[in-house]
Amino acid sequence: MKVLAIDDSIMVRKIIRGAVEVLDGNLIEASDGIEALEVMEEEYKDIDLILLDWNMPRLNGMEVLKQLKADRRFRGIPVMMVTTESERKNIVRAIQAGAAHYLIKPFTIEELVKRIMESMGKGE
C-alpha cells in the first residue's frame, strides 16, 4: 500500500506516517498542492490512497482535489480529506468534488488507521 499525504504541517505528516507504518504501508509526502501534483505526475501508478489537507499555501486542497478528479489518470485514486474544515457546507463541497472520505482534525491515531483501512476497502 502506498499513500500520498499532502499537508503543509510536518507534524501532521509525521502522524500520518506513523499510521501508515502501522499498516505496513509506504508514505510519500507533499507539503502543498503544487508539490503534490508534481509527485502525482511521477508516482500516480503506485499510489493507492491520497490524504489531502484543505488549507495550504500555493494551491489549496480543494483546488488539488478538482485537478485530481479532472485528470483521468488520477481520478480513480480515492482521496480522503484530512482537515480542520468542519463546516457542513465545506464537507459537502469536498464530497461533491470527489472526495471519498472526510476526516476532521483532531483525530486519534487509531481513528486515522481505521479510516485509512476503510478507504482501502479493508474496514472492519
Binding site: 504541517s9 507534524m11 501532521v12 509525521k14 502522524i15 506513523g18 480542520t84 474544515e85 468542519s86 463546516e87
Partner: protein, 157 residues
C-alpha cells in the same frame, strides 16, 4: 444570535484546545483565567499564533516553554522528544493553533462572529510575550495538565 463576550470566545478556544490535546495527545487539561491566584509564572520560549479576520480582527496565540512543546509534539506524533528537531516544534505549535481554531470557526460560522483565518505562524525567543494596546479587548486562559503549561490569548487588534 445574542452577543458573545470575548471571555466566552476565549472559553470556546480553550475548551477546543482541551479537546485537541485529549484526542491527539491523551492529556486531560484544565483551564483557568490568567492572573488567578496560584497560577505559576512561566517564561514562554515558543508561541504559535494566527490572525482571525472578521467583523473585528483578532489575534490568537498559544505560548509555552520549550519543554512543554517537546512533550506535546512527542505525544502527538509518537516520536521521542530527543528525536524532534527545532522545526518540528515550531511547525507543531503552529499546527496546534490551526487545529484548535477549526471547530471554533465552524461553530461561529453564519453568526456575526464568523471569521476567516490566516496560516498559523510561530515565534521563538526568551520570555516571549505579546503586548497589545491597553484599550483593546482581550482575554487569557492558563491551561495545565501536570507539567504541561500553556497560555492562550485572544485580543482584538
Amino acid at each position: 444570535m445574542s452577543s458573545i463576550s470575548i471571555e466566552e470566545i476565549a472559553d470556546l478556544f480553550a475548551n477546543n484546545l482541551s479537546k485537541v490535546l485529549r484526542t491527539m495527545a491523551g492529556f486531560e487539561v484544565s483551564s483557568i483565567q490568567c492572573g488567578q491566584q496560584g497560577m505559576p509564572e512561566i517564561e514562554p520560549s515558543i508561541m504559535g499564533a494566527m490572525i482571525l479576520h472578521g467583523q473585528k480582527d483578532a489575534m490568537i496565540s498559544l505560548a509555552m516553554e520549550d519543554n512543554t512543546a517537546y512533550m506535546l509534539i512527542a505525544y502527538m506524533t509518537g516520536i521521542l522528544p530527543e528525536d524532534l528537531e527545532e522545526q518540528d516544534l515550531y511547525d507543531g505549535v503552529g499546527e496546534l493553533v490551526n487545529i484548535m481554531t477549526g471547530e471554533v470557526k465552524a461553530r461561529l460560522a453564519n453568526t456575526p462572529y464568523q471569521f476567516r483565518l490566516t496560516s498559523p505562524f510561530a515565534l521563538g525567543g526568551d520570555n516571549l510575550k505579546v503586548v497589545f494596546k491597553k484599550n483593546l479587548q482581550g482575554a487569557c486562559r492558563f491551561l495545565t495538565a501536570g507539567e504541561l503549561e500553556i497560555i492562550f490569548r485572544i485580543s482584538y487588534i
